[in-house]
């Protein structure tokens, strides 16, 4: 019996039935007169079944009557309690019902299997989420501002002029300062470049011309002349290669969207007024934080 009570199937059924009843009550119970309590044959059987699981024997007629009486009592209490609004101030009931609604909302998404064409459309719309990062191959010559002060820029520019005129030294790095930074990077992603040289440098080298010396670029370390030899833009892998990832992202986004839609659709039924000083937070031009009133996670 304990095991039966823990069975998720049972929980789902109970949630479903509870929701149905709740919904029914809220709508004024148009599937039967509000004052009717009908114990169907199926309900009686379920009660008997549950008894049997506990006691390892079927209930007697007297016991069945007792079970039904108890069920009716519970139903009456439940309806009256709801009618009296006893659930309203009870944070336990409110939170639990909210969570049940959120679960239901999530499950609706969970079981919807998208088609390949839906996934491909999603992929096309969210290319940036799936592209392999761009990569850059470049050389750099470092000028330490710590060592050279203001001369660093002047000297870097002099070397640049020579290099651009094809008159530079054969080993340009030797004309710069020794550094722990790598003299070159091969097929490096923007993230790796930023981790190595800092985000400012990464943004600038992204724009540097290919096949010629340019700079000096400023980093947190000093100044750099760079020669970008190859820039490979981020490429989208074939759909088949990343289908599982696209599916996962699609479903994650669907979950967020659908939870929001679900709440929005419910919200549309209500006229919400915020009073007092907080009201200004909800004026159309006041944006953003702290205004979501509902269960969107």
């Amino acid at each position: 019996m304990r095991k039966f009570l823990r069975e998720p199937l049972l929980h789902f059924l109970l949630i479903g039935i509870g929701l149905f009843l709740l919904y029914d009550v809220l709508r004024g119970g148009d599937t039967g007169a509000p004052r009717d309590i009908v114990v169907t044959e199926a309900r009686a059987e379920a009660l008997a079944q549950s008894f049997a699981t506990t006691w390892m024997r079927p209930p007697t007629a007297q016991e069945i009557k007792g079970l039904i009486d108890d069920y009716v009592a519970e139903e009456i209490y439940y309806r009256e309690a709801i009618a009296m609004g006893l659930d309203q101030d009870d944070v336990v009931i409110r939170r639990r019902l909210r969570q049940k609604m959120e679960f239901i909302s999530e499950d609706a998404v969970a079981s919807a299997e998208p088609t390949d064409s839906e996934l491909q459309a999603y992929l096309a719309e969210h290319r940036e989420k799936f592209v392999n990062p761009a990569s850059l191959t470049f050389l750099q010559v470092y000028f330490s501002t710590e060592k050279r002060g203001e001369q660093a820029r002047v000297q870097a520019e002099q070397l640049l002029t020579s290099l651009q005129a094809g008159r530079g030294p054969t080993d340009p790095a030797a004309a710069g300062d020794p550094t722990l930074l790598p003299p070159d990077m091969q097929s490096a992603s923007p993230q790796l470049i930023a981790n190595t040289f800092g985000s400012d440098f990464a943004a600038q080298v992204e724009e540097a011309p290919v096949g010629q010396w340019s700079g000096p670029l400023q980093s947190g370390f000093g100044l750099h002349l760079v020669r970008v030899d190859e820039r490979v833009p981020g490429a989208l892998p074939a759909f088949d290669e990343i289908r599982p990832i696209v599916l996962r992202e699609y479903q994650a986004e669907q979950r967020t969207q659908s939870n929001k839609k679900f709440l929005d659709s419910l919200r549309a039924k209500y006229d919400i007024r915020i009073e007092g000083p907080a009201a200004r937070l909800f004026e159309p031009q006041a944006a953003t934080t702290g205004v979501q009133g509902g269960g969107a996670k």
């Binding site: 789902f12 919904y23 639990r96 499950d107 969970a110 722990l180 980093s219 088949d240 599982p244």
Partner: protein, 642 residues
């Protein structure tokens, strides 16, 4: 997350899910106005995540990642709690393991109602939820999970105020967990919920987010033993996805020797795993006890197991710095860093020298001599212990707290405490773990940890290399040559040099956080034990910025301070972007066990409390430092006579 666990169940759940969906679809589709469906649809098999034939396998993706034999530095997190940690959930954490990985990769998440972004993505993460109650958290969070309707969980979901949360936690969890026989709370729905949480949520998130070469996830969890409120916690990390069905938690045993026995059993079954202890500062001495749990002096077997499984220790995290404390190391002028004194006053955890990492790793040399094995053969790593589900959320200038409501508001951070542990204002955002690895894959990152080729910083992405050998170049000028020589003619951090006839040379370089503050200096800390077996240490400045000269007392003058505390700003007008140097130990004794580790200091920058005050136009707090010198620590290099 939920869909797949449901889909995996062959029967029942699918049918009901479909019924519910039908109910929902009608509710959602028409704003609640339509009739409910009369009959139940036949269950359709929900989407299973079957890889399409063309999708490359993990092994194929890993095979395509290039290796760098000279290694690269990778930064990450091995200590973060999500909504699957009971205490985090109670505190309002709703970030799941899946979302924690997303945050680490640079995606926005919402915490305490605010959008938050890590700014700089990480290279690797292990989500380390408290294993003890993951089953309970599965029941609490997954629709239809077994046990989900338990009234105590209804209570849990409804906790509002911090006081309510605290009371509930003490009632059901703390009282169970800090005794001698910790047990599951009464709302536990059985081992299958633990299995589902581990496999369908925690490991699934690790599988989903692993991108060989770009982002590594590490399967792991926290073993949370706290007998008598003394911290014995360990994070258990696996080399790959060859992992047991369920984790071994402190509810199975809060005896670390039992944990190692279980780890040994997993090794025999083909898993590779290691454990990382943390917060020795709050261990009430239990972390480095001279006695085992039976009350007998520790043996060679104890030491062998411990050193085999415990390769690294977390140097510092939110609950303070465990390296040293200014009170016990008065000669170390930089020992007063994030000492978290209130950790030493809460729960009767009076600090002692023996709780600190520097003492312990040096004491290990004494055991090495007496037992032939060093139980504290520990490299250094970092972590946060963030309970908001945010891995390596370590930026001082963007700190939003780490423990739900306990430090989730400005006022709580300035005046509150993080339950039973520490005053919020004395906490820190925690540290970041780093390894030198040949590439960014699960195996390579774990192997670097196992080899102790690991370092840690208090937040900045400082990089530091450290080598020792008899024939290394004593005046290095070329960084690449230093590294090549270090690997070919010496050992890197975490390694051991043995049986030298001449004095070893130590070479070191450090490079600032490319987006952060300049460096003040590089120090080497030497440790050895005296004739009585007492740990001794010495701090040596090896390389520093500018043309400072050590004074008559041998101390280098301070680097200066550019921080404007009124604006919470600093400039890089002082300090160096890179430092390189070497050191030869003048008191080297080839017959004496010793260890050497590196500490790199940044120039002073504003502490998070200063940023917090300035941002909110409030006075600076008077009893915490306004500026700090962030730092990096490398794992030691050990010297062992033959």
């Amino acid at each position: 997350m939920n869909s797949l666990s449901l889909a995996a169940r062959p029967l029942g759940a699918g049918v009901t899910a479909t019924l519910l969906c039908a109910v929902v679809a009608s509710l959602a589709g028409c704003g609640g106005g339509a009739d409910l469906p009369k009959d139940v649809a036949v269950a359709t098999e929900p989407a299973a995540e079957t890889p399409s034939p063309a999708a490359p396998t993990v092994a194929e993706l890993e095979a395509g990642v290039a290796e760098n034999p000279l290694k690269d530095a990778y930064f990450g997190e091995t200590h973060v709690h999500t909504s699957y940690s009971l205490d985090a959930y109670i505190g309002g954490a709703r970030i799941t393991p899946d979302e924690a990985y997303r945050f680490a990769k640079g995606q926005d998440v919402t915490v305490n109602g605010q959008k938050h972004n890590i700014g700089r993505p990480l290279d690797f993460v292990a989500v380390s939820d408290h294993a003890e109650f993951i089953g309970e958290m599965y029941s609490t969070q997954v629709p239809g999970a077994k046990g989900g309707d338990n009234p105590m969980l209804n209570e849990l979901r409804s906790l509002k105020s911090v006081d309510e949360q605290r009371a509930w936690f003490v009632k059901y969890v703390v009282s169970n967990n800090r005794g001698d026989n910790p047990s599951h709370p009464p709302f536990y729905a059985g081992p299958e919920t633990t299995r589902s949480a581990w496999q369908d949520v925690i490991l699934k998130a690790a599988r989903d987010h692993y991108q060989p070469g770009r982002f590594t996830t590490i399967a792991g969890y926290e073993w949370t033993a706290a007998p008598q409120a003394g911290n014995m916690h360990r994070n258990v990390l696996f080399r790959d996805m060859n992992v047991p069905d369920v984790p071994f938690s402190a509810l199975e045993s809060n005896d670390e020797e039992k944990l190692w026995a279980w780890m040994a059993e997993q090794e025999r079954k083909g898993s590779k795993l290691l454990a990382i202890p943390h917060n020795s500062n709050g261990s009430k001495g239990l972390m480095f006890e001279p006695l085992d749990n039976a009350g007998k002096p520790i043996t060679a077997e104890y030491a062998r197991l411990r050193s085999h499984f415990e390769r690294l220790i977390e140097m510092m995290q939110i609950k303070g710095n465990s390296e040293v404390h200014r009170k016990f190391w008065p000669a170390d002028e930089f020992a007063g860093f994030e000492n978290a004194d209130s950790v030493g006053t809460f729960s009767n955890r009076a600090f002692k020298k023996e709780y600190f990492v520097r003492w312990a790793v040096i004491k290990g040399l004494d055991y090495q001599q007496k037992l032939g094995v060093n139980p504290y053969h520990l490299g250094f790593t970092g972590g946060t212990d963030n309970h908001n589900g945010l891995p390596s959320d370590v930026a001082e200038n963007d700190y939003i707290g780490s423990h739900g409501p306990a430090d989730g508001t400005l006022d709580a951070r300035r005046t509150g405490e993080i339950d039973g542990w520490i005053k919020a204002k004395e906490s820190s955002p925690g540290t970041i773990a780093a390894v030198w690895a040949t590439r960014n894959t699960q195996a390579a990152i774990w192997d670097a940890m196992a080899a102790r080729e690991s370092f840690v910083t208090s937040g900045p992405r400082i990089k530091v290399r450290f080598y020792s050998g008899a024939d290394l170049d004593a005046s290095p000028t070329d960084a690449r040559a230093l590294v090549e020589q270090g690997y070919h003619g010496g050992v890197p951090m975490g390694g051991t040099i043995t049986g030298l006839t001449k004095t070893p040379t130590f070479t070191v370089w450090a490079s600032k956080d490319p987006d952060g503050a300049n460096l003040d200096r590089i120090q080497i800390i030497k440790g050895w034990v005296d004739a009585k077996g007492e740990p001794q240490d010495r701090v040596i400045d090896v390389a520093w910025s500018g043309d400072r000269k050590p004074g008559k007392d041998g101390k280098l003058p301070p680097v200066g301070n550019t921080v404007d505390v009124k604006q919470a700003t600093y400039t890089n007008a002082i300090g160096s972007v890179e430092l390189m140097g070497s050191w030869t130990d003048p008191t080297f004794d080839p017959k004496q066990h010793a260890l050497y580790y590196v500490r790199v200091l940044e120039i002073p920058t504003p502490r998070w409390t200063t940023y917090d005050a300035v941002r909110n136009n409030l006075p600076l707090l008077e009893d915490v430092p306004t500026t700090i010198q962030e730092r990096a620590w490398t794992s030691p290099i050990w010297y062992a006579p033959l």
